[in-house]
Symmetry: C2
Subunit: 304 residues, 2 copies
């Protein structure tokens, strides 16, 4: 178990290095055309928002699900990078004063602090736009029909019915607390949709059957739920630590989460159940799915 974990974490780190490298290259190549003036400041702001040493969990999921079903590795890396651009755009915009108003992310100044408000808006916009450029570019070695499936699935995961819609519901939740169903929907949209897309993308890249695609999609939903529950538990722990309370039940950050509603013990039981269900979903793939099952366990048990 320990050795599996350590091999898993090694692979995750190794993968994050590859993602960081291709993102850096993609953001250097972004506008080398001789016809235009290079908007240097915008490019620097985009790099600042993306090249921050994240775990790159979403690209990892794209690459490992693609590998499971025999998809092209290089294409999966590029699709993972495109997805990371969308994830990072959402962080840049979420950090803005009008939204969560955060000055720091991963110990570094957020984009609007390191640059300025207007540049941060435009950097987010440009990262979102660039994601579709990366998918559609000739360098992404996939048939057009798969690229279009990816564009459609990503735009739906990121848009009104996905991440952006979820963020709007989250802002509304600050004024009027949603009920359990409302919280579940909000989280499925705000954080779940991109994680589900990551797993579904692997199936699309591999040109998998509808059945395999649905299986990976459901696996992605489990991972998304586990990710959010683990996140809520982390907030609770952080609140308990900073506020000197045993539980964060009434702590500001813990409000409006399922953990706040049902408690820590329920959350831990649910996380264990989600990991079991994720593993069962992948049982038809046998040994090949070990790493993805480890990923589910990692997401459910992460404490940082």
């Amino acid at each position: 178990m320990d050795s599996t974990n350590s091999s898993f974490e090694h692979r995750l780190r190794d993968n994050a290095g590859k993602v960081e490298a291709i993102l850096s290259q993609l953001l250097a190549d972004a506008c080398l055309s001789g016809e235009i003036t290079r908007p240097t400041r915008l490019l620097e702001a985009m790099r600042h928002g993306v090249l921050n040493g994240g775990k790159r969990l979403r690209p990892f999921l794209v690459m490992e699900t693609a590998a499971l079903l025999g998809g092209n590795d290089d294409a999966a890396l590029r699709i993972g990078a495109a997805l990371e651009c969308v994830h990072c755009y959402s962080l840049v915009h979420d950090d803005l004063p009008a939204m969560d108003d955060d000055d720091l992310r991963r110990g570094q100044p957020t984009v609007h602090i390191a640059f300025d408000y207007a540049t941060a808006i435009l950097a987010g916009d440009s990262l979102l736009t660039y994601a579709f450029d990366i998918i559609a570019a000739p360098e992404t070695d996939l048939p057009s029909n798969r690229k279009i499936e990816l564009v459609l699935a990503l735009s739906r995961a990121a848009g009104i019915g996905g991440m952006a819609g979820g963020q709007t519901l989250d802002l509304a939740a600050e004024k009027e607390a949603p009920d359990e169903r409302g919280i579940t929907m909000l989280q499925a949209m705000k954080t779940g949709a991109l994680i589900r897309f990551a797993c579904e993308a692997g199936a699309i890249i591999a040109g998998a059957s509808a059945e395999n695609r649905q299986r990976l999609r459901t696996f992605g939903e489990k991972i998304g739920l586990a990710f959010q529950l683990a996140d809520d538990l982390l907030d609770l722990t952080a609140d308990a630590a900073t506020m000197g309370k045993a539980t964060g039940k009434d702590a500001g950050r813990g409000k409006g989460t399922l953990v706040a509603l049902h408690g820590q013990a329920w959350a831990e039981t649910t996380l264990a159940r989600l990991v079991t269900e994720a593993a069962e979903l992948l049982s038809p793939y046998g040994e090949k799915a070990t790493l993805l099952i480890e990923t589910a366990r990692f997401v459910a048990s992460r404490r940082s």
Copy 2:
């Protein structure tokens, strides 16, 4: 000439009605899936940003260039609507306090005034995202390879090397005035890129030859230049009217434009030349190109 103009303007208005109708339908259908909570406020903000009775010049160019080369009308209407979503997203974000800080657009409160700052950011983000959804959706009746060409060309027209990059350069220009080459590049990116895309899109929709596509692309560049010059002239006239000056040479809004640099007479000569060049470009298509040539004339001579 009068009858041609009136027939042209009738067609432009008729077309704008069609575009308004499909945009309204697309923004109603945007998230009807039963699985999610409808982010009603976000959808309303998107509708507010889009359904504002604009002239819909960009969709008109998509549809008329597609018609010229025998492209599918319904697909062209949908691609035009997608492009209009991108155009409107840029207006919603440009109007934000951190950018141009405009409270009114077309006599109506801008999205961040009618709703709030966070919702306006998210409405812009969602409109941009939704544009790619519209292109990729099965309802857009085009082969996958043409859809991917459209995704690539649109993301490049809207992104770092296009509209968003141009907007960044424009913000920088407020602090340090660019030279003539700098102004030309900035404008080609900020307003030219989407108009050029509109014309190129018609060729892509029709599956036109590389030669035809390049011709339409160049035609789009001429229209884009004419659009910007006419805009600068309008600003000059507005400044002259509001500030009681005969010329706007030193007026705030007129600064950093080619009209400010070279004067009104030069601008009018250049506009006439651009219309002639645009007409020459389309001469191989004979009579069929009459409407597009009228469009060039309209863009160059518009005074509102």
